[in-house]
């Protein structure tokens, strides 16, 4: 629940919103996993101003808390002034009382609010507004230790909260020290992984109201940024990406990242944490739309989601339709993420019988079944390989995201432990995603199947469905008819 109140010439109008599960009704707000709580605070303010355009003051509840407008009214009656913050007895913010000019003239600076420390946020607001901010503690509630993850979909445990506090404190420092702070750029902190870099780049190309100019990215992804056509200027982070094995935590990595970025970057950019703050699996929206919301678009109707619109660009192979050539990337790094090896063999054998040339990336073990194996670890050889084939078939990993969203190539996505809606989505003649649609996914497992204990995922489609999709796409894009 997200909520707020418009105060207009002494009248109070409450507005309750829900985080959308897909309908994006007028009282629903887009569910973006990459948006920090402050992004939702900003959005609630936007919505209230739209509904109450003459409001003088906006009262916005902390998005991390499941509150309703009626509850806010109770706290407001205790005589909070604007600008002000009401917190629990341990300084966890409950609500913000903000002048409309903050939303109209300085909207993006709201993204800097920690939403977890009223003292820090009050100082930040004082710097932004140039006036005193009242802080009042409510003695009748204590939020306590915020859980690692909660029923509303947030994961903002104590360690993650430190990140939000550090970045808010850094913004206070910038505003205090730099007279020209209003001219400093905003930077997205989402430095990894490769697929996410592709999604942010695609989102930046598809923006109507961008709030950011820069993107902190691991320098190992220079090759991706060089071709991904991001509208955000990269700030290179000379640190390898976060290992996926859990050996380094996100907050630990973040601390290293600030060190590596150096004072110049940290003090000349308003940095906003946009790694995941919420679970992706509970939202039906594609990550590109998650990122568009993070970057500033409201996406307040289904029609505005990228996945129901035609793709931004499409390309296709310039070779003759015959012989048809297909390129596979079927290795996810772990057995549970790989397209099952037996399925691979069946698909390759069948395609070969039908006279179709099959190439696989990094799988010499599949050569005896009729495939040609190539290496394409870098972006350049990947692009060259894709351009030499009519259709690309990939798993939920970087090559798939790149080929689909950067190259616009005819692509089939294979989904097992993750959700096509989040990482595939949006069907048209150049794209479709396939899965068995089992109710156990997304399990996100990185070991064995949590339901059956198998090493391989049963949610991957069987060979006949994949082959049918290949032939359908070949026919629709290239006019190919199987012999």
């Amino acid at each position: 629940m997200l909520t707020g109140i418009a105060l207009t010439a002494g009248r109070a109008d409450g507005f309750d919103f829900a985080i959308s599960k897909g309908g994006l009704a007028p009282n629903e707000i887009f569910d973006s996993a990459t948006s920090p709580p402050a992004r939702y605070l900003l959005e609630v303010g936007r919505r209230i101003l739209k509904a109450a355009p003459s409001a003088d003051v906006l009262v916005v509840a902390n998005p991390l808390l499941p509150l309703r407008a009626q509850q806010l009214a109770g706290w407001l009656n205790d005589g909070v002034t604007c600008p002000g913050i009401v917190s629990d007895e341990k300084d966890f913010p409950l609500l913000y009382v903000l002048p409309r000019r903050l939303f109209e003239e300085m909207e993006r600076y709201l993204l800097l609010l920690s939403t977890v420390d009223a003292g820090i946020d009050a100082r930040l607001l004082e710097g932004l507004l140039g006036q005193q901010v009242t802080c009042r503690r409510s003695s009748n509630i204590r939020i306590g230790s915020y859980p690692l993850s909660n029923a509303s979909g947030w994961f903002q445990g104590a360690e993650r909260q430190k990140i939000l506090k550090v970045l808010a404190a850094n913004a206070i420092n910038i505003i205090g020290k730099k007279p020209h702070w209003r001219r400093l750029p905003f930077a997205v902190y989402h430095p990894y992984h490769a697929g996410s870099i592709v999604f942010f780049a695609a989102a930046s190309r598809d923006m109507t109201t961008p709030l950011f100019e820069r993107h902190i990215v691991c320098s190992t992804y220079r090759d991706i940024m060089a071709v991904a056509d991001s509208r955000l200027e990269p700030l290179w982070l000379k640190l390898t990406w976060l290992p996926r094995d859990g050996s380094v935590g996100e907050p630990q990595y973040f601390a290293h990242a600030l060190d590596r970025l150096g004072d110049d970057v940290v003090q000349d950019n308003f940095i906003v944490f946009m790694r995941y703050s919420r679970s992706t699996g509970t939202s039906p929206f594609h990550l590109i739309d998650h990122d568009r919301f993070s970057l500033g678009d409201s996406i307040d109707s289904v029609a505005k989601t990228r996945q129901v619109q035609p793709p931004l660009h499409k390309q296709a192979c310039k070779l003759p339709a015959t012989p048809l050539k297909v390129l596979f990337h079927v290795t996810g790094g772990l057995p549970i993420k790989n397209y099952p090896v037996q399925y691979c063999k069946e698909v390759i054998r069948t395609l070969s019988v039908l006279g179709i040339a099959v190439t696989v990336i990094g799988r010499p073990d599949l050569v005896p079944f009729g495939a040609c194996s190539i290496d394409a670890d870098e972006t350049e050889p990947l692009m060259a390989a894709v351009e030499a084939h009519h259709i690309f078939i990939g798993l939920d990993s970087f090559p798939h995201h790149f080929v689909r969203n950067v190259m616009g190539w005819p692509t089939i996505g294979l989904f097992g432990t993750t959700t096509a809606a989040n990482f595939g989505g949006g069907w048209h003649d150049h794209y479709r995603s396939l899965s068995e649609g089992l109710p156990c996914h997304p399990c996100g497992s990185e070991t064995d199947c949590p339901v059956f204990g198998h090493a391989e995922c049963l949610n991957y489609v069987k060979p006949p469905q994949l082959l049918a999709a290949i032939f359908e796409m070949a026919s629709q894009v290239y006019g190919y008819q199987a012999g």
Partner: protein, 386 residues
């Protein structure tokens, strides 16, 4: 568009025709009075927001339908039972609340009648079929392929399936119905139900089709321990299933079972119908009666499956149930769960509908059936030599 139809028990009403069927003026008594016989039985839940309604009250019926529509449900499936002279659905009380966006479908409880198991002359059977069709004329029907949907609960208990179905279709035409879309309550088309005249099948309920093995497999020693009073008898007499495995098993390899529409359910434990043992219990992770996360995925993925595998107009997911209080499968808000299950249902339907919308950009015209068959045969061959 994929429609979600929820099974609905109309017996919660004080109307005269329902009284003739149930013989009780207090339809909620059984729920109020049911007591678990074991600590392993989940307690039955009780209604909260909608209360113990009397559907004979038009306002109560309208509230029920409005709440179901609010969750994204497109209609109810109500039972049609023989009451010894006529068929009773109890659907008349819902009729004023139905319309274009919320319709009624029916489930014929033919297993309650000996009549259709035994031979009878055609005229008598035609008369009985006409009575059945007359009972289906209540409210706005849920049109499937332009026809009224009727589930046959016990298709194997029809003495002459093909002839009976033809009789029903003829009676429907005579009754002025737009035709029948007949669905057999069977998990797979092994008995050639489709060739007998059924239009589709529906996954049976959890008690009728155990889609995976139970987690309790009592041994002879268990039996002796139960008899000696050393162990809870339900461990021997009842069957317990992990909810997630049970749900996933129903969705695996569906295409091999034929044209079967999915049935989804948030929870299930029917001990109230099995006082002597033999109940089916679904147990969610954490030994809970219901887990809304996995249930939501069950609903959402069933919708996606139906969208991809059934033709437009026939895309239906059956939700079991709206008010199956005695089996713990209710979606209605309850005292123990509040609106958790209701909200999970609404959210899952919302998610499913959104994802389906993202898939509508695909050009018309799939692969020809001949090519699909060729692919299948080639894959079979490839599998055998790989």
């Amino acid at each position: 568009m994929v429609r979600v139809l929820a099974f609905f028990d109309t017996r919660y009403q004080s109307s005269a025709d329902m009284l003739s069927l149930t013989g009780t003026a207090d339809p909620w008594a059984r729920l109020r009075e049911a007591r678990p016989a074991s600590r392993q039985h989940f307690a039955l839940n009780q209604p909260s927001t909608l209360g113990m309604y009397d559907l004979a009250d038009p306002q109560a019926a309208a509230r029920v339908v409005a709440m179901a529509r609010g969750a994204g449900i497109d209609g109810f499936v109500v039972d049609c039972r023989w009451a010894g002279g006529t068929y009773v659905t109890g659907a008349q009380v819902l009729a004023p609340a139905t319309g274009e966006s919320f319709g009624l479908a029916f489930q014929w409880r033919n297993g309650d009648e000996n009549f259709w198991r035994e031979p009878a002359d055609r005229e008598t059977r035609a008369g009985r079929a006409a009575a059945l069709m007359a009972a289906l004329k209540a409210g706005q029907p849920t049109a499937v392929a332009g026809r009224t949907l009727l589930i046959v609960d016990r298709p194997k208990e029809l003495a002459e399936p093909a002839e009976t179905l033809a009789l029903l279709r003829s009676a429907a035409a005579g009754a002025g119905l737009p035709g029948l879309y007949l669905v057999a309550n069977r998990a797979e088309d092994k008995g050639r139900f489709l060739s007998a005249g059924f239009d589709a099948l529906i996954d049976p309920g959890p008690a009728e089709w155990h889609s995976c093995g139970p987690s309790n497999r009592p041994t002879g020693l268990d039996f002796l321990e139960v008899m000696a009073g050393l162990k809870d008898s339900v461990e021997y007499l009842d069957k317990f299933f992990p909810y997630l495995l049970f749900a996933v098993s129903r969705m695996i390899n569906r295409e091999q079972r034929g044209k079967v529409l999915p049935r989804v359910f948030p929870a299930f434990h029917d001990w109230a119908f099995h006082p002597e043992g033999g109940a089916t219990h679904l147990v969610a992770p954490g030994n809970k009666a219901v887990d809304t996360y996995w249930y939501g995925l069950f609903v959402e993925n069933a919708m996606l499956h139906t969208h991809e595998h059934f033709t437009a107009g026939e895309q239906i997911v059956f939700l079991d149930s709206w008010n199956g209080w005695l089996e713990g499968s209710q979606v209605e808000p309850s005292l123990l769960d509040g609106d958790l299950v209701y909200n999970a249902t609404r959210d899952a339907i919302d998610r499913g509908r959104y994802v389906i919308r993202t898939r509508e950009g695909l050009p018309e015209g799939g692969l020809a059936a001949e090519m699909r068959e060729r692919i299948r045969l080639l894959c079979d061959a490839a599998r055998s030599i790989s």
